[in-house]
C-alpha cells in the first residue's frame, strides 16, 4: 500500500536501522510490530491489536497494559513525565473499557539526574494516581551511566477490571457507527514542541494530559453501547482512525468542520506547517457508538465533546475527510515523523 501523507517530501523509511520514525506511532512503527514482535510473541490476546490485552482469569475479565515514557523535556506546560506515565497506562486500560486498579512503575535513572527532579516526578505520579483512582503497588529502579539515558525513563504497567459484558474492540465496529471525540485535539504535542530546543516559541498551550477512565466508565454507566475506543496519543486522530479502519476493515468518513482544535493549537500548527490531525494528545479518545446514542453520549462527556464522523461501509478500509470547503480527500496514517515544513 502506498504511504501518502500531506508531508513533503514523502517520508522514506528503511527498516535496516531503528529510526525515530519507528517510535512515532505511524506506519513505520506498525511495520516494526508486524515484522518483529507479532510473529515472535503470537497469541490471541496480542492479535486483537488493542491498546491493552483483555484476559479471562477465573471468570473475571482483566485488562493488562504497559507503556514506556521517554519525553523530553521532563517537565512541560500542563504536566511532566510522571503524570504521563500514570495517565498513559491508565488510559490504555480505559480503552479496553476497564476500571484501572493497580500500576507498576520502573525507573531508569541517568547518572547525574538531580534528585529534586526525581522527587517532583514521583510526587506528580502519586497525585495522578490518586486522581485516576489507581495505586502504584510495585516498582523497580536502575541507574545507567551519564550519557546513556535522557535523565529519566519510566515504564508503567497496569491492570484493570472489566465490569460489563460489552466487547470493546475494533472488530465490534460496524457501518453506521458514529465517532465521537471527548475534546479538542493537539494540545500535548504542541505543548511539547513549544518547549523543545531549537523550536522554542512562546505559547499558552498546555498539555491535555489527563486520565480518561472516568469519562469512559461514565459512557458505559450511561448505557451507551460502546463498540470501540482508541486513545489518540502518538500519531494523533488520523493514525487512530486509520488503525481502526484497517483492523475493523471499514470505511470512515469524517467532517473537518467538526474536528475540534483550539485557536492556540491551530495557530502553532499553521506557523510550523503541521496538521493537528496528526499531533499527539494525552487525554483524548474516540468512541465508536450507535448513531442513535450520540446525543446521550455527548451529554455524558460534556460540552467539549463532538461527533466528528461516521463509519460508512465495509467496502474498503480507508479514512476520508470532507474538507471545510466541501471536497473529499484521503487521510492516511502518519508516515515517518511530522516535521515542520519550509513551504
Amino acid at each position: 500500500m502506498a504511504d501518502f501523507t500531506l508531508s513533503c517530501p514523502v517520508p522514506r523509511i528503511t527498516d535496516e536501522t531503528v529510526l525515530m520514525a519507528h517510535g512515532s506511532g505511524g506506519r513505520a512503527m506498525h511495520r516494526l510490530l508486524e515484522a518483529i514482535f507479532m510473529p515472535a510473541f503470537a497469541n490471541p490476546a496480542l492479535a486483537s491489536a488493542h491498546d491493552g490485552a483483555v484476559l479471562n482469569m477465573n471468570g473475571k475479565q482483566i485488562a493488562f497494559s504497559t507503556d514506556s515514557y521517554v519525553v523530553h523535556p521532563l517537565f512541560f506546560p500542563g504536566g511532566d513525565i510522571g503524570t504521563l506515565a500514570v495517565n498513559g497506562t491508565v488510559n490504555d486500560l480505559a480503552m479496553c473499557g476497564a476500571r484501572p486498579l493497580f500500576l507498576s512503575a520502573g525507573f531508569i535513572l541517568e547518572e547525574g539526574l538531580p534528585v529534586e527532579q526525581l522527587e517532583r516526578v514521583v510526587r506528580s505520579m502519586q497525585a495522578a494516581a490518586t486522581a485516576a483512582g489507581v495505586q502504584i503497588v510495585t516498582g523497580d529502579t536502575k541507574v545507567v551511566d551519564r550519557g546513556k539515558g535522557d535523565g529519566l525513563f519510566i515504564n508503567t504497567a497496569g491492570i484493570g477490571l472489566i465490569e460489563h459484558p460489552i466487547q470493546i474492540a475494533p472488530h465490534s465496529v460496524r457501518p453506521g457507527d458514529a465517532i465521537i471525540v471527548n475534546g479538542d485535539l493537539g494540545r500535548h504535542g504542541m505543548a511539547i514542541m513549544a518547549v523543545r530546543e531549537g523550536l522554542a516559541f512562546e505559547s499558552l498551550i498546555e498539555s491535555d494530559c489527563a486520565p480518561i477512565a472516568a469519562p469512559v466508565l461514565a459512557l458505559l454507566d450511561a448505557g451507551i453501547h460502546v463498540h470501540c475506543l482508541r486513545d489518540l496519543t502518538r500519531g494523533g486522530l488520523a493514525s487512530g482512525l486509520c488503525e481502526i479502519a484497517e483492523t475493523a476493515h471499514v470505511h470512515i468518513q469524517i467532517e473537518e468542520m467538526d474536528v475540534p482544535v483550539s485557536e492556540n493549537v491551530r495557530g502553532a500548527c499553521e506557523i510550523l506547517g503541521l496538521d493537528p490531525m496528526y499531533v499527539a494528545n494525552e487525554g483524548r479518545f474516540i468512541a465508536f457508538i450507535p448513531p442513535d446514542e450520540v446525543k446521550q453520549a455527548l451529554a455524558t462527556l460534556g460540552d467539549q465533546a463532538r461527533c466528528i464522523g461516521h463509519v460508512t461501509s465495509k467496502d474498503d478500509h480507508l479514512v476520508t475527510l470532507r474538507s471545510i470547503i466541501g471536497a473529499t480527500r484521503i487521510v492516511d496514517m502518519l508516515s515517518g515523523e511530522q516535521l515542520p515544513r519550509i513551504c
Binding site: 501518502f4 466541501g326 471536497a327 519550509i342
Partner: protein, 366 residues
C-alpha cells in the same frame, strides 16, 4: 482564526468555483508555482471544486524537492562528521540522497539538529565553539533574507565556526524555463504570494509581455487560490496577459525592501541545478565573495561531489506538464514514494506521488 477562517469559507469558495465555471468557455491550464499552494490545493481539495475545463499543473515550487541530489549527499557527508553539528529545517531531514537522508545520518550517530530559524543555528554555533556548525540554507526568495541575516550576523559577531550549505533557488527563472520550452502548455500562472511579499512582482511584467501569459499574485488559503484562478481565467477569456495581485493584504508591488537589501548584501545570483530539471541559468543564490568564508562547500572542500540522478526519471517532463506520470516505465515499480527516482515522486504533492495515491484509491474501490 482571524485572517485564516475568512479564506477557508465554504460559501465563498463555492461562489468562486461557480464563477470560474460560468466564465470558462474553453480548456485552460494553470500552473501554481509554489509548493505551499499545491499543499493547500491537495489538503482542501480545491481542484475538486473546479470545472473540468480548468487543469491545474503543480509547478516546481517545492524547494525541498528541487534541491539537487548531490547537495543532499554533501549535507549527509557533513552531518556524519564528528566535528560538525548539522542544522536544517525539518522537512529537509528526510529528503533522500544517493545513499541516505539526514534522519538516517542522525540514527547512525551524526549530530543533526532541526531548527526553525537560521538564527537559532547561529546561536548553536556560539554555544558550541569547539564544533563546526553548518546550516542547510535551502528555499526560495522567502527563506533567503533570514539566511542572509544569519551570515551577516555571524560576520558582524566574528563567529568563526558557522557556515551554510547553500541551495537557494529563484522562482522567475524557473517560470521562464517553463515558458521558454517549445511545447509549453501553461496558459497562466498563480505567482507565489509569499515570494512576492519579499521580492515584489515587478519581475513578472516583462514575462507577461514576452510570453503573453497572465500572472496573478495569489495567497495560500482555498478562497485565495480560487479567486486567483478566477482572475486568471477572466484575463484569459478576455485575451489579456497582465500582472494582477489577488494577495494585496500581504504583497506590495515593490516587495519588502529591507529583506531584499540584506539578501543582496550577502548573496548574488548564480546558475543553479534543479532536481529533475537540470541547470537553469541565473536561477539561484550563492554567497558573495566577502562572505565566502561562510560557504560550507568551500570550508569543507566539497566541490568534488557529483551524483547522477537516474536517467530513467522523466520528472522534468512531468513538471512541465509534457508527460503524465504513468507514462514513465519506472512509475510504481522502480519509482515509488518510498524509493523515489526524482522530484515529482519525492514530494507528496508532486504529480507522480499524487498519481500513485489516486491509483491506490482506484484499487481500493476496485
Amino acid at each position: 482564526m482571524k485572517y485564516i477562517d475568512e479564506y477557508r469559507d465554504a460559501v465563498s469558495a463555492r461562489r468562486f468555483a461557480r464563477a470560474i465555471a460560468r466564465i470558462a468557455t474553453r480548456e485552460w491550464t494553470i500552473m501554481e508555482v509554489c509548493g505551499g499552494q499545491t499543499h493547500a490545493i491537495v489538503k482542501f481539495g480545491v481542484d475538486e471544486l473546479l470545472p473540468p475545463q480548468i487543469t491545474l499543473l503543480h509547478g516546481p515550487g517545492c524547494p525541498v524537492c528541487v534541491t539537487p541530489i548531490e547537495l543532499i549527499d554533501k549535507a549527509a557527508a557533513l552531518g556524519a562528521r564528528s566535528d560538525v553539528i548539522f542544522t536544517s529545517f525539518g522537512d529537509m531531514l528526510r529528503v533522500p540522497g544517493t545513499h541516505s537522508n539526514l534522519l538516517e545520518v542522525k540514527a547512525r550517530g551524526g549530530d543533526v539538529r532541526m531548527v526553525y530559524s537560521p538564527l537559532d543555528a547561529l546561536k548553536i554555533a556560539q554555544a558550541n565553539p569547539e564544533k563546526e556548525v553548518v546550516f542547510f540554507a535551502v528555499g526560495f526568495e522567502t527563506t533567503a533574507p533570514a539566511n542572509a541575516m544569519a551570515v551577516y550576523q555571524a560576520a558582524q559577531l566574528g563567529v568563526k565556526n558557522f557556515s551554510i550549505l547553500v541551495s537557494h533557488v529563484l522562482v522567475p527563472p524557473a517560470i521562464e524555463a517553463i515558458l521558454g520550452s517549445p511545447d509549453n502548455r501553461v496558459n497562466g500562472f498563480l505567482a507565489a504570494g509569499h515570494v512576492c511579499a519579499v521580492v515584489g512582482y515587478e519581475e513578472y511584467y516583462p514575462l507577461a509581455d514576452k510570453y503573453r501569459v497572465p500572472f496573478v499574485v495569489t495567497g495560500f488559503e482555498p478562497v485565495d487560490i480560487l479567486q486567483g484562478i478566477y482572475m486568471i481565467v477572466r484575463q484569459l477569456e478576455s485575451g489579456r496577459a497582465e500582472v494582477e495581485n489577488q494577495y494585496s493584504r500581504c504583497v506590495r508591488r515593490e516587495g519588502n525592501i529591507p529583506a531584499q537589501q540584506i539578501t543582496r548584501e550577502v548573496f548574488e545570483i548564480v546558475p543553479r541545478k534543479w532536481r529533475g530539471i537540470g541547470e537553469i541559468p541565473y536561477s539561484g543564490l550563492g554567497l558573495r565573495e566577502p562572505y565566502h568564508t561562510f560557504d560550507a562547500e568551500r570550508r569543507f572542500n566539497l566541490a568534488g561531489y557529483a551524483a547522477e540522478e537516474s536517467g530513467e526519471c522523466i520528472s522534468g517532463e512531468v513538471l512541465q506538464g509534457k508527460l503524465k506520470p504513468n507514462q514513465c516505465p519506472a512509475f510504481g515499480t522502480r519509482c515509488t514514494p518510498e524509493h523515489p527516482l526524482g522530484a515529482t515522486m519525492v514530494s507528496s504533492e508532486g504529480a507522480c506521488a499524487a498519481y500513485y495515491r489516486y491509483r491506490r484509491l482506484e484499487v481500493a474501490h476496485g
